[in-house]
Symmetry: C2
Subunit: 120 residues, 2 copies
């Protein structure tokens, strides 16, 4: 079960929301990501099928170990690129936006090495 950019985004958003508000339901994700309920429903179904998350009796989305690992990796990239861009003088909003796209484009190997080089 392959994971695409969009799936990574969902996992990252779940992680962020979990940290911010504890339990996370589909509707929270829908509001946070500005995606329609059906889009979320579909994505959650795929992520569940892929073993990245589970849904409990209350409708709360729970990351599996695998899902959490992916989410944390992506979130680390997000923070790194955001920091770098802000340090370069980019305003926070744009830095976040661009980081959000770059984070899916780079391989783990390149990210590790680049981060070590720039923030070592």
């Amino acid at each position: 079960m392959a994971l695409y950019a969009s799936g990574e985004d969902y996992l990252e958003a779940i992680l962020v929301l979990q940290r911010k508000m504890g339990a996370v339901r589909s509707v929270d994700l829908s509001r946070h990501m500005n995606f329609s309920k059906p889009s979320i429903s579909n994505a959650v179904g795929l992520l569940k099928k892929g073993g990245f998350l589970e849904v409990d009796g209350n409708g709360s989305l729970l990351l599996t170990d695998l899902g959490r690992e992916v989410a944390e990796q992506i979130y680390e990239r997000h923070q790194f690129f955001t920091r770098q861009l802000i340090a370069a003088g980019v305003d926070e909003k744009l830095a976040e936006e661009d980081a959000c796209k770059i984070e899916h484009a780079i391989s783990e190997e390149s990210f590790r090495k680049w981060k070590a080089e720039l923030e070592g």
Copy 2:
């Protein structure tokens, strides 16, 4: 006429091939990018319609001023990210691959500032 990541890639590839071999036809692009002839044909049609390139009597693809400008912008990003990753110890092949994806993900403003910060 909006330009997407794929369109940027085609323009960049045309620029690179022009520099390497002079005239560039669709079939050269097809071989270089490992895309089927119909995919190229379709993309070239869209880029033509968008005013990014023209096709002369020999089937050579000619970038318009607009097309060249975009191509050069993207190529500059490509080189920047490739350099950065190689400097961080990433091997050339992976650096190229990742640069090729990152180059479409970053905004012009962020790129300019980041490049100035890191290489300025």
